[in-house]
């Protein structure tokens, strides 16, 4: 631009010199000089053309003209820009989350070489834990790795200065940080000297913990930390933004001794990480590991082993949120397409109104290319304005997404509008701008200036092609809207399905609390039991309380101890994998009544089952079916490994521990007071008719009152616990519903505007028809009929589109197939109904006008 101003000045100087010299020749007659030179303006214009800036001038001119045209049609421009801003903003917001979650590399050196070994069993889900000696064999023998590390995550209670709190602690092998390529921001890394078999007493703390609990004390390395009542020294502080390679907030690292390759009687299981050597493909590493596994298998033929697979660390951490994000990205893209179609339609209508102007311009010699460019510029102008507005929408949208996203979406807090996201926003704005301009362009390219100019002022019939294009756009947006609606519908049905699953108990009016009793303070099971007994006694007198009990593992409560079951009078089964699959649970107090567990046969365990009474057990239906097919298990005497022999007194309904939609496993309950040497059941369930808003704080206060040193207990209603299981589905469902709502509203606007416009164009014709005695119903039918036709065509296309894309939803669905006909039919019904309403309004307008007045209007 500077360059250009300089050239202008130079040209002016050059011409002035010429004029001066010429004037001197003419004896100072400047007019004669001017005559000799010619038209200075034209010379400048022609010279400029030789500079090659012409396109810039034209662009400026087009822009000026475009702004003028839009300013003249304020309401049109406003509608277009606002819808464009919404569409693009939604896309940018979703993209910023995708960028942060899926596209950003993990904060480790060469993170793409990090893999997680997982165990794959042919019949089960991935198992991320590996046996210690298996890990050790990979460490010592695998040549494809640059290093391996093992770790586990535990919850420790931190006391001392400040409030007691529960923190996640990573117990890691000494080379863990080096494997990730991370070094402490302060102090030193953990070494083998800091390690102990179950974790040493030297800790690295996170930057967050350092600032929060230690007020960023620069002398932190000389201070200590009390965890589980034991003193720890602090070796260093992790860098800010360090992330533990799990979707967990881990704040402390301690070192554990490298596991030994020798197999021992007690096998520990750890998570593990490996770094591939540069250039080693995953497939080769997998086959190398398989060879090592095979050797181990031969050494221990008794063990049934799963196949080991190596999963990219990034994949493992974000793999479960990818489907949801991909679905949302697809959904917002559809919304944006609908927005584009709608604006395109508006521009098309205006292009038709301007047909004469365009024809005049072409007739006057404006190149067609120039006219096209003008139309394109208008579309781009709208799109860019929309894009800028979209940034504001995106900023708000990102904030909203972060707030409502389900827990455990990694890195979502890093999502923000900036950098790549800005570029993305700009790119979709330009893309949308081109899309906006396409339809009017098509219509203008067909324009024959002669016929356009010859036509009478009411250019009614010449617009047939135009009408077809317009119809096509409406059909397209209806189809897109149906696709979104189908997706939202499928998730609605999933939600309904998950909610309707009989959980095997009555979750209403149940409040739960998970108390963690630090073992350094409650050293014996008896101490723990005493605490729980007192809490239950206190609870019994609480607001509206009908029953209260404790259990080791609440429904959907997580990992359970498993064992082999032996039934008296029946030979032990041959060693097999599912022998060990009976989960062990135990209860105290009136748990079954508090949870409302359905008793199918016999009785439940209740407070009368005390230590002195004969030991009893309650089994679930899955266990009864497996071990007592066709007969009553009541009275049978059974025994789990290392547990006392008990008598089965009841059968209860299955509770799907693994999640709402999982298969129910075999489960056996025993009475906690009758189990010597076992820990206490520390999850409390309270059935109360009082409002949860009263019961929850009351229960929390009771726990704190009993021991101030306890970390805050997790107190929530059973319904809340269950809702958390459906978080992802609910999140995606809500957003899809929102998008589908926007889509269908836009489609309705599209249908309305097309019909309203066509009614307006045909005012004259309709007036004549009415004057000639056409019935109102006939006219309404004509207009609504077209709307119906368009909507039906759109619905048909939408069904095809839905069938093609809803399979991407599959991993989110439950109880409904991606091609569910009921959902599709319902979606079609909604689309067509909305279309009919949208079509009825212009139809009413058509017949309500005064026929005489419309005829005079010409």
């Amino acid at each position: 631009m500077f360059d250009r101003r300089k050239r202008e000045e130079e040209l002016e100087r050059e011409l002035r010199n010429h004029l001066d010299l010429e004037a001197e020749e003419h004896g100072g007659d400047t007019w004669a000089a001017r005559r000799a030179l010619g038209n200075v303006g034209r010379i400048q214009e022609e010279t400029r053309e030789s500079w090659g800036y012409r396109w810039l001038d034209r662009l400026a001119q087009d822009l000026r003209y475009g702004v003028r045209v839009l300013a003249k049609n304020r309401s049109f421009a406003a509608v277009a820009i606002v819808t464009a801003a919404l569409g693009m903003g939604a896309n940018t917001a979703i993209f910023s989350v995708i960028d942060a979650v899926l596209l950003h590399p993990l904060p480790y050196r060469d993170a793409d070489r990090l893999v997680s070994p997982v165990a794959v069993r042919s019949d089960g889900p991935l198992q991320e834990n590996v046996a210690d000696y298996q890990y050790a064999a990979w460490r010592d023998e695998a040549k494809v790795f640059d290093g391996v590390a093992a770790y586990s995550v535990l919850r420790y209670t931190v006391t001392g200065a400040g409030d007691p709190e529960e923190l996640r602690v990573g117990i890691v092998t000494p080379g863990f940080l080096r494997l990730l390529g991370v070094s402490p921001a302060m102090g030193r890394d953990l070494t083998a000297a800091d390690a102990a078999p179950r974790g040493g007493t030297v800790a690295l703390i996170s930057h967050a913990l350092w600032t929060r609990r230690f007020q960023a004390d620069p002398a932190i390395l000389s201070r200590g930390l009390t965890m589980q009542g034991k003193p720890y020294t602090i070796a260093g502080v992790l860098p800010r933004g360090f992330e533990f390679p799990e979707n967990l907030d881990v704040n402390v690292l301690v070192a554990m001794t490298e596991p030994e390759a020798q197999e021992r009687s007690v096998v520990y299981f750890y998570r593990s990480l490996a770094r591939l050597k540069p250039g080693v493909p995953v497939s080769r590493a997998v086959s190398d590991v398989a060879v090592i596994d095979q050797r181990l298998r031969e050494a221990n033929p008794r063990k049934l082993w799963a196949r080991t697979d190596l999963v990219g660390l990034h994949d493992r951490l974000v793999g479960n949120v990818r489907p949801a994000l991909v679905v949302l990205a697809g959904a917002v893209a559809l919304v944006l397409l609908i927005v584009c179609v709608n604006i395109s339609n508006l521009l098309l209508a205006r292009a038709l109104a301007r047909q004469k102007e365009i024809a005049v311009r072409i007739a006057l010699g404006a190149g067609r290319a120039r006219v096209f460019r003008q139309l394109m510029t208008e579309g781009l102008l709208l799109a860019l304005a929309g894009g800028i507005g979209g940034l504001a929408v995106a900023v708000a949208g990102v904030r909203l997404l972060r707030a409502i996203a389900p827990e455990g979406v990694p890195h979502i807090d890093n999502a923000h509008v900036g950098g790549v996201v800005l570029a993305f926003n700009f790119a979709i704005a330009v893309g949308a701008g081109i899309l906006f301009g396409l339809a009017p362009l098509r219509s203008a390219s067909r324009l024959d200036p002669e016929t356009a100019l010859k036509q009478a002022s009411r250019s009614a019939s010449g617009a047939r092609q135009h009408r077809r294009l317009e119809g096509l756009l409406v059909v397209a947006e209806t189809a897109f809207a149906l696709m979104l609606l189908a997706g939202a519908g499928l998730l609605l049905r999933t939600f309904a399905g998950l909610t309707a699953i009989a959980p095997g108990f009555q979750p209403e009016n149940v409040v739960t609390a998970r108390v963690s009793l630090p073992y350094w303070k409650y050293k014996t099971p008896d101490r723990q039991r005493a605490f729980v007994d007192e809490l239950l006694a206190r609870t019994a007198g609480g607001p509206g309380v009908e029953a209260a009990g404790a259990v080791a593992v609440l429904p959907y409560g997580g990992w359970m101890l498993k064992g082999q079951l032996r039934v008296e009078g029946r030979p032990p089964e041959a060693s097999g994998a599912d022998e060990a699959d009976v989960s062990i649970n135990y209860t105290a107090g009136d748990y079954f009544r508090a949870m409302g567990v359905r008793v199918i046969e016999g009785r439940a365990i209740d407070p009368s089952d005390t230590a002195g009474r004969p030991p009893v057990a309650v089994i679930n239906q899955a266990l009864a079916n497996r071990y007592f097919p066709g007969r009553s298990p009541i009275g049978a005497r059974v025994q789990l490994e290392r547990m006392p022999r008990v008598e089965v007194v009841g059968v209860i309904a299955n509770v799907k521990q693994g999640g709402l939609a999982s298969e129910a496993g075999m489960e056996m309950f025993q009475a906690a007071p009758q189990l010597k040497g076992f820990g206490a059941a520390t999850s409390i369930a309270v059935r109360s008719t009082a409002d949860p808003r009263v019961v929850l704080p009351w229960l929390r206060a009771q726990i704190t009152a009993m021991d101030h040193d306890l970390p805050p207990a997790e107190v929530e209603t059973m319904r809340q616990r269950m809702a958390a299981l459906m978080n992802t589905q609910v999140f995606v469902m809500r957003l899809l519903l929102l998008f589908a709502g926007i889509a269908i509203a836009l489609a309705a606007i599209g249908i309305y505007s097309v019909l309203a416009y066509s009614v307006e164009r045909r005012t004259h014709e309709i007036g004549i028809r009415m004057a000639l005695g056409a019935r109102r119903g006939h006219i309404v039918g004509m207009v609504v009929g077209r709307g119906f036709l368009l909507a039906s065509a759109g619905a048909a296309l939408g069904i095809i589109g839905s069938l093609a894309v809803t399979r991407y939803l599959k991993s989110l669905l439950y109880g409904v197939t991606p091609h569910d006909p009921v959902t599709l039919a319902a979606g079609c019904a909604v689309v067509v109904a909305v279309a009919l309403v949208a079509a009825y309004l212009p139809a009413r307008k058509a017949v309500d006008q005064d026929a005489a007045a419309t005829l005079r209007a010409e």
Binding site: E46, S50, W51
Partner: protein
């Protein structure tokens, strides 16, 4: 001079102006006015070169790289003029145009004044 049309004057053929400019600059650097005067004088005012059309042509030639420009003051003057000079590429171009022109002139002449064998 373009105001009082004289019959003897002929309009410049399309595309020849560039060649004339290049030819003029073969004698050494010159600014716009000098080029205009030179063309006017050497053709005895027969060729009607509108001074105004000179400048778009000069800028076009500069862009093509056939001539180069520099602001310089003549020895005894303070005022700077934009002097154009021929570049090597311009020399080549001039030679090409010249031969083309010569062929064309010869062709036209042979049609207009056929040599009668006597």
């Amino acid at each position: 001079m373009s105001t009082n049309m004289e019959n003897e004057r002929v309009e410049l053929l399309q595309g020849t102006l560039d060649m004339l400019i290049l030819r003029t600059l073969l004698m050494g650097p010159a600014h716009g006015h000098q080029i205009a005067k030179h063309l006017q004088r050497t053709t005895d005012d027969v060729l009607q070169v509108e001074h105004g059309s000179l400048y778009p042509a000069l800028h076009r030639l500069e862009r093509k790289g056939w001539i180069a420009a520099k602001w310089e003051a003549p020895k005894d003057q303070k005022r700077e003029f934009k002097y154009y000079r021929l570049t090597p590429a311009g020399r080549k171009q001039l030679a090409a145009e010249e031969s083309k022109w010569a062929r064309m002139a010869k062709a036209i002449a042979s049609v207009m004044w056929p040599v009668e064998e006597s």
